[in-house]
């Protein structure tokens, strides 16, 4: 990002950090996405508890590191007992819980969902400022941008047609992390090409008639079975890609926006035929 474009963001960061005078000392996160940014940006002594999902290796990119901290289940009594001076929540945190915490005088911050890399940068900055470590945020963004730049140097002769296919026939269209990662990894996201936005189901016939060359999927609940998951094993899918099997990528890449998006792009680049 050119320095002129970064300037407004820096100014915003400065004003925000001025507002938060003393850094919070007891931070509790009850959302998987804020968990991971808290782990990356917080001082270990600052972190009181993370959500139980942060320990799940399917969902969290930092499951090992999360085990060092007590887990919470976003239960009101449990949170009060932790005496937090900052509670990090997500965009979809239960509004009743949010209201109750506010009424009791706790300081809450909500992390917006990230559907692209620009929001990932903004979220890193946001959390770093909440925690009173704006410089750490900038350093993490610089590392991420350097990583993305290295990945962007890789050129592909052709951009093969691919898409994410999830249980119940869901796919990731324009305006999703998957879309951004596929494009940056030299794939042509078919779901976006046929005009889908966000996470939507795609009809099997429409999917096949779009001439996909590769399917990706990110199992959300590995080791379980259902009719929804069986749809990924439909013989037509394999026939459509000339027998090439679906490639599985960990779901933790997409559940939350964060620096792990660079790992997702790396994996997608390695999947090129």
């Amino acid at each position: 990002m050119p320095p002129t474009r970064r300037l407004p963001a820096l100014l915003l960061a400065l004003t925000l950090s001025a507002a938060a005078e003393t850094p919070p000392r007891r931070v509790v996160s009850i959302n998987l996405c804020s968990d991971q940014l808290l782990l990356l940006l917080g001082e270990p002594g600052q972190i009181v508890s993370l959500s139980y999902l942060a320990r799940d290796p399917n969902a969290s990119a930092l499951a090992e590191r999360a085990r060092a901290y007590p887990a919470n289940h976003a239960d009101l009594e449990e949170l009060i007992a932790m005496q937090p001076d900052l509670v990090l929540t997500g965009a979809y945190t239960d509004s009743a819980l949010r209201r109750a915490l506010r009424a009791l005088g706790y300081h809450l911050e909500a992390l917006p969902l990230a559907h692209d890399i620009a929001t990932i940068r903004a979220n890193i900055r946001r959390v770093a400022n909440w925690l009173g470590h704006p410089a750490r945020g900038e350093a993490l963004i610089q590392r991420l941008d350097a990583h993305l730049k290295r990945l962007a140097q890789k050129r592909f002769k052709r951009h093969p047609r691919a898409l994410f296919y999830q249980p119940n026939g869901y796919t990731a269209g324009a305006g999703t992390l998957q879309d951004e990662a596929l494009k940056r990894a030299g794939w042509d996201n078919l779901a976006a090409r046929i005009g889908l936005r966000g996470y939507r189901p795609i009809d099997l016939e429409t999917l096949l008639l779009a001439h996909p060359e590769q399917f990706f999927t990110s199992p959300y609940a590995p080791g379980t079975d259902s009719l929804a998951q069986r749809r990924l094993r439909h013989p037509a899918l394999r026939a459509a890609t000339g027998g090439r099997p679906m490639i599985e990528l960990p779901y933790r890449y997409w559940l939350c926006g964060g620096p792990m998006i660079a790992d997702a792009i790396t994996a997608l680049q390695q999947a090129h035929p």
Binding site: L204, T206, L209, S226, R233, A236, A239
Partner: protein
């Protein structure tokens, strides 16, 4: 009778062909067929042979099994309200299949085998309670009780299942659907459906003879025990295999035999083949309706919704006719 079979066969075949033209997108079906014959793996050929053909064949096979089992049960139990949906066969099969699929025994033939076991236990239980030639009320009430138990158990199991998608699938198992299946599922249901169907067809003569009463039938060489064993094995095999793939599709097994009984000269043995053809046509027509509705509105409904919307009023009419002394 010969004409009826022929006409019904032609109607079913025509529906089968027509069904290949109905999908979410218009495709050049003849070009797709040519591609397939020349082994060109084009997208249209895959849509035709891996999506539409399996769906059509699954609907035909499931409908045939439902019609056949409905006719066999009505004939054997001398009861016009008997059908696999009402006496718990479908529910038992779905219950067995749900255990196998969601709790880790779902590989290979595990699901249809569990469906067969479930169908057998549920059907046998209701039969033991109501008996052959028992009154209609006992049979239907026993069926209601077993169905309530099975529906609740299926819902409970799917709520407890480890897969996060299981709960949304309660409706598929309770109403039935032939969508989103491939040729692999067709192969999974085929062995049981064919074996069961053949077993049932072999009870034709016995069912005809039984209309004259058990003693007369015995004097004509009908072995009641043997017929009963054949019938229950056939129904469990066929219904178990089908429901394990499609879920419990209602009313086809009840309605079809009634619609066709006049054509079979009211002989239950003759009705079996006709009812199989009629069931196949009925369920495929309902599924074509589902696909047309989906193309028009984008809503994907279960085929069991259509069969219930058509079948339930028919069922009511049947009850009313039973009550009024004609």
């Amino acid at each position: 009778m010969k004409h009826a079979t022929l006409i019904l066969g032609l109607v079913t075949a025509a529906l089968g062909l027509f069904s290949l033209f109905i999908g979410s997108n218009p495709i050049p079906v003849f070009q797709a067929l040519l591609d397939r014959l020349h082994d060109i793996p084009s997208a249209i050929a895959i849509v035709l042979t891996e999506v539409r053909l399996p769906r059509t064949l699954i609907a035909l096979l499931a409908g045939a099994v439902l019609g056949l089992c409905g006719a066999a049960l009505q004939g054997f139990l001398h009861n016009p309200l008997a059908s696999p949906g009402l006496i718990g066969t479908s529910g038992g099969a779905a219950f067995g299949a749900v255990i196998a699929l969601y709790f880790g025994f779902g590989s290979g033939l595990g699901v249809p085998l569990a469906g067969i076991a479930g169908a057998l236990v549920a059907t046998w239980t209701v039969y033991r309670i109501a008996g052959r030639d028992g009154d209609t009320l006992t049979l239907i009430l026993a069926g209601v009780a077993i169905n309530a138990l099975l529906t609740a158990s299926i819902s409970l199991l799917l709520s407890l299942a480890p897969s996060p998608y299981a709960v949304q699938e309660i409706v598929v198992w309770l109403l039935g659907s032939v969508a989103n299946h491939g040729s692999d599922d067709l192969w999974l249901m085929l062995p049981g459906a064919l074996t069961g169907g053949l077993l049932l067809m072999r009870t034709r003569r016995a069912l005809d003879a039984l209309t004259l009463g058990e003693e007369t039938a015995a004097s004509l060489g009908v072995d009641l025990m043997r017929t009963r064993a054949q019938l229950f094995a056939g129904i469990a095999l066929a219904m178990g295999s089908v429901v394990a793939v499609t879920g419990a599709i209602g009313f086809v097994g009840l309605v079809t035999p009634h619609l066709l009984r006049p054509l079979a000269a009211h002989r239950p043995g003759r009705l079996l083949g006709l009812s199989a053809l009629g069931g196949a046509a009925l369920l495929l027509a309902a599924d074509i309706g589902v696909r047309l509705l989906q193309r028009a509105t984008g809503a994907s409904i279960q085929v069991g919704v259509i069969t219930a919307l058509l079948g339930a009023p028919f069922f009511l009419w049947l009850i009313l006719r039973q009550r009024s002394p004609a």
